[in-house]
């Protein structure tokens, strides 16, 4: 086959996906970059403002809420290590061969299957002032908290909810797969050498699953930047008490679709993208080196 023919055949197969990809991914990314240097309210034509949007976000009148959004998102990410370590722990327990393992695995996975608006509505009800969580706390003699209305409690509440939703989910399955690849002989050898449980974990398990931990960590951070929109909309009715659930995702939605500042929102999205990119590259550069394959 000639080179041209090969190219044509290849493009023929690619084209349905490629066209969609260009129209809904490639062009929007470029357009978004261009938009971020303009002001655009959907009615009047876009006007170039140079770095105006970025200035507004970083030092101007939008900066207070933008930094708040960044802080809120960072706060939410505090739940990531807890959830990852929880998944690893559960996977290690499940990895021992015993009866009922499949049952427990399925039960732990339930919240992940159900995740979505329906379950967020359930959590709004659980976290309600007169909801289940406060009632249970009262039964064990603790004073309840107004989870949904106190600025300092709503984000921890969302972290609790997210941990519940993710800890037995995809990450645990990934760890289970990784653990099943660790040869039992390693542990036997370590035992002969007199290694205890703790030592076996640090010397064998942790290094052996480090590629998985790394992968999960990178993905969680990428996702973490965009997290919280649905929780904010369903549980906190938007920005939440004192703006504590104005996550970056909600901030962008609010600017773009509630006050129609498309340029500003695009600039915020790009700043978020740059942060994701920087963090991911740093992860690859420094985390990737310590991972043992």
């Amino acid at each position: 086959m000639s080179k041209l023919r090969k190219l044509l055949v290849g493009l023929a197969f690619l084209s349905p996906n490629l066209v969609g990809f260009l129209v809904f991914m490639f062009l929007p990314v470029i357009a978004s970059l261009v938009l971020s240097f303009t002001t655009f309210d959907l009615v009047n034509l876009p006007k170039l403002t140079g770095l105006g949007n970025f200035r507004d976000l970083l030092v101007g009148d939008q900066s207070e809420q933008f930094y708040q959004a960044a802080r809120n998102t960072a706060f939410l990410m505090l739940g990531i290590p807890v959830s990852i370590l929880g998944s690893l722990f559960l996977a290690m327990v499940l990895n021992q061969k015993f009866r009922g393992m499949v049952f427990f695995r399925t039960v732990f996975f339930l919240p992940t299957i159900c995740a979505g608006i329906a379950v967020l509505m359930l959590w709004r009800w659980i976290l309600h002032d007169d909801g289940l969580l406060n009632a249970l706390l009262k039964q064990i003699g603790l004073k309840g908290v107004r989870w949904l209305n106190e600025p300092e409690w709503i984000r921890p509440a969302i972290i609790i909810m997210q941990t519940w939703m993710t800890v037995g989910g995809m990450n645990m399955i990934l760890y289970l797969a990784a653990l099943s690849n660790v040869s039992p002989e390693l542990y036997e050898a370590a035992e002969i050498d007199g290694a205890g449980t703790w030592r076996k974990f640090w010397a064998i398990t942790w290094p052996m699953v480090s590629p998985t931990t790394f992968f999960i960590g990178v993905m969680s951070v990428i996702r973490g930047f965009q997290a919280g929109f649905e929780a904010a909309m369903i549980i906190a009715d938007g920005a939440g008490p004192g703006g504590t659930t104005r996550f970056l995702s909600y901030f962008i939605y609010e600017r773009a679709f509630m006050i129609y500042r498309m340029g500003l929102a695009s600039a915020a999205a790009w700043l978020m993208f740059l942060a994701v990119l920087t963090l991911t590259l740093l992860n690859w550069r420094f985390g990737g080196r310590r991972v043992i394959y």
């Binding site: 197969f13 159900c114 979505g116 009632a135 039964q139 773009a256 929102a265």
Partner: protein, 427 residues
């Protein structure tokens, strides 16, 4: 000391015993975690089956129950509806009569006829109930209840007065299955279901088709620029959705105008509203408030292409070569070799796409404003906005929304787990 000997060791130091203890601890720990995972979902079902009065009961009630009242008539216990509890009372000091308000009734015998609830504080102070001007003390002579026998049956219905101690009250298990019907009636869940199924099926079919074609090209066809292009695909997986969200929205918004200008300047076909069978609104042709705008941007993902490519790479090349020698074209190989061998991977992608688009929320929320087109998650949100305290109805609606995901998961569990691992082959 050799551990397996067992001799000279204390009971709990023996290996078999320690093993048992470890097992018990493991099961106990797993059960606690398991209960934590399930409890909220049980609470969801329990709330969905409660009657309006016991949603907020304290302490929380796990079994949906109802308080029922019974009286014994002619030796037979009959269920009744309690209308009110009253007491007959006399004044401790007849001189207090002056302080009573006119609204207080007295019967033939001169006893005061009061609601039980008005006797707060042991009847010390009727002024607190707003029926006396000064503190008035009363003595209860008789407590009685007004009940309705055979409520709801207009022919046998009867109102009775019975002494209160003859009315027994019992908490009985009473799941309100009708809540599901009420939820369906409160919002147009049926329509949302149809919308969700339609949107999800088209997106899933589209993704599997376009991704598998592209994945085949990336995995097996050789053409210049292939690997660079693939890297471009991979790189986009890192771009936050928020970046493409706004321009895509702008395109969707102005698409009807552009298309009209180019193709249909007279009839303005592209901004028309469509109706199925002449009466069911199915949104606009394109643009805001159209199925098109929810479906099409969601149909192309780098993720699906990436996942299928990884799988296609693992299919032995010999099979393909054999087919090529038999005169198969690239399309023939794709259809007769690759696709039949990749059913598990295709199913996996289909399941993931289904789950993802079934719960998609932000994009439909942005591009749809007409309730007729709402998929379930967006519909649930307007349900929540409209019914702020009726958590039993909200939970019933939410449960109805969960059914398809749970079914799909149960049918396709193995694909699901396979897919999670497939996605992790490479970061």
């Amino acid at each position: 000391m050799p551990r397996q000997a067992g001799k000279g060791l204390k009971f709990y130091q023996r290996r078999s015993v320690r093993r048992r203890i470890a097992m018990v601890v493991t099961y106990a720990g797993l059960s606690i975690v398991g209960i934590t995972m399930v409890l909220p979902l049980v609470w969801m079902l329990s709330t969905a089956l409660k009657n309006d009065a016991s949603i907020y009961s304290i302490p929380p009630e796990w079994v949906p129950s109802d308080t029922k009242h019974y009286v014994t008539l002619d030796g037979e216990e009959e269920e009744v509806r309690l209308l009110r509890r009253r007491v007959k009372a006399e004044l401790a000091d007849p001189a207090d009569k002056e302080s009573l308000r006119d609204s207080v009734r007295t019967d033939e015998a001169g006893l005061l006829d009061l609601y039980e609830a008005q006797l707060r504080g042991g009847g010390e102070d009727l002024s607190a109930a707003g029926i006396a001007d000064a503190p008035v003390r009363v003595k209860v002579v008789e407590a009685y209840s007004v009940v309705k026998l055979h409520p709801g049956d207009p022919e046998k219905e009867k109102v009775l007065e019975v002494p209160s101690d003859e009315v027994t009250r019992r908490r009985v298990i009473a799941p309100q299955w009708s809540n599901f019907a009420r939820a369906v009636k409160s919002i147009n869940i049926g329509r949302a279901y149809i919308n969700s199924i339609f949107i999800t099926l088209v997106i899933t079919a589209g993704q599997v088709l376009t991704s598998s074609l592209a994945a085949y090209a990336f995995a097996r066809l050789e053409f210049p620029g292939r690997d660079k292009l693939f890297l471009g695909y991979l790189a986009t997986m890192m771009i936050p959705g928020a970046v493409v969200l706004i321009p895509t929205y702008i395109v969707i918004r102005y698409l009807p105008d552009i298309l009209n200008k180019v193709f249909s300047p007279e009839a303005q076909v592209f901004s028309r509203e469509l109706f199925l069978f002449g009466k069911y609104a199915v949104g606009k042709v394109v643009g805001i408030d159209s199925y098109f705008s929810v479906i099409v941007p969601a149909m192309f993902t780098a993720y699906g292409t990436f996942m299928l490519r990884q799988f296609f790479m693992g299919i032995p090349k010999d099979l393909e070569d054999a087919a090529r020698i038999d005169g198969c074209s690239a399309m023939g190989i794709y259809r007769h070799v690759i696709i039949p061998l990749s059913k598990p991977a295709l199913a996996t992608l289909a399941v993931f796409t289904f789950m993802g688009s079934w719960r998609a929320f932000m994009w439909p929320l942005i591009v749809l404003s007409s309730e007729d087109l709402y998929p379930i998650p967006v519909m649930l949100r307007s349900f929540q906005d409209a019914y702020t305290v009726e958590y039993n109805l909200l939970m019933a609606g939410a449960l109805i929304a969960l059914v398809p995901t749970v079914i799909v998961f149960m049918l396709a569990q193995r694909y699901f787990r396979a897919g999670i691992r497939l996605g992790a082959i490479k970061g």
